[in-house]
Amino acid sequence: MLFKRLVNGLEVFALVATAWTVLLLFTAQPPVSGDPVQDDGARIFAARCSGCHGAKGQGLSGPQLAGVVAERFPDPADQAAVVANGRNGMPAFGSRLTAEELEAVVEFTRTRLGS
């Protein structure tokens, strides 16, 4: 009987957790750095890329970028193509970033990331 009550209670908790998750989906906002000197590339990297590549580009589930990405992609256009179209587990950002934003974040990862 106690076990049944526990299961009933857990089902109610699941309902509440579902409602809370839905609420979060519509209300959660990505953190904003608030640093006025950050350029677009840094801002976009922090918002879009750091989750997988690490805040300093050191690599997490995505590969390390800091200090190595320019070697891996001597032509920035090749790197931009990967960002735009995605590859392996990386999502495509082509439809989510403007051409200028794409260029800015690629430039940031090649020049300032990790420095």
Binding site: A17, A28, A47, C49, S50, S61, G86, G89, P91, A92
Partner: protein
């Protein structure tokens, strides 16, 4: 008399199931629409003691699969498809319910990160992500249908196992297109 009274009863479960199917389809579509139009945050959310949210998700999805397997096994016993345990303890059906509830609860943080941070993948040239996105939306719709069906009396005997099997199959598909991919491409155990 029994034939007369069975008509409204049959009509009742059919209507109820139809409403559940429409609600399930609606939820699947709503999730897909949200994932498509929401601007993906691209942020890590929860990672627990794992190194990254992706590792957390891969293991949570594996936990979901474990609970789903437990629910499948207990369902098979309840429906008499496996002989063990010989006599059903009084708490057995509660274990079945508990495993389903825990499986569902464990999907929530995973789905949250998928929807909020990554979004729906509409590009069919990315088959893994495309199929994963479709299955993710489908799963919650099918789950709604199952929750309603399990409370409906007078369903044809094959229907609940068919719905439950569909939910389970979609979960296996989700695991194959996420956790298995993570463990084989990123690393195992990955944290």
């Amino acid at each position: 008399m029994s034939a007369d009274s069975s008509v409204p009863a049959q009509s009742r479960w059919q209507s109820r199931l139809l409403v559940a199917a429409v609600a399930g389809a609606g939820i699947s579509i709503l999730l897909g629409v949200y994932g498509r139009i929401h601007d993906p945050a691209g942020q890590q959310t929860i990672s627990g003691f794992f190194g990254s949210t992706l590792a957390f998700k891969a293991w949570m999805a594996s936990l979901v699969l474990f609970f789903a397997l437990l629910q499948l096994t207990t369902a098979l016993r309840i429906w008499g498809r496996i002989p063990w345990p010989r006599t059903l303890p009084p708490w057995f059906s509660q274990v079945h319910r508990l495993s389903g509830t825990l499986a569902f609860l464990a999907t929530l943080p995973v789905a949250y990160h998928c929807l909020w941070a990554i979004g729906f993948e509409p590009d069919m040239s990315q088959p893994r992500r495309f199929i994963h996105s479709l299955l993710g939306c489908f799963f919650y719709g099918a789950f709604v249908v199952k929750v309603v069906a399990v409370r409906s009396r007078r369903l044809p005997g094959w229907m609940l196992p068919a719905i439950g099997g569909t939910v389970f199959t979609s979960l296996v598909g989700l695991w194959l297109t996420s956790s298995l991919w993570f463990f084989t491409n990123i690393g195992f155990p990955g944290f």
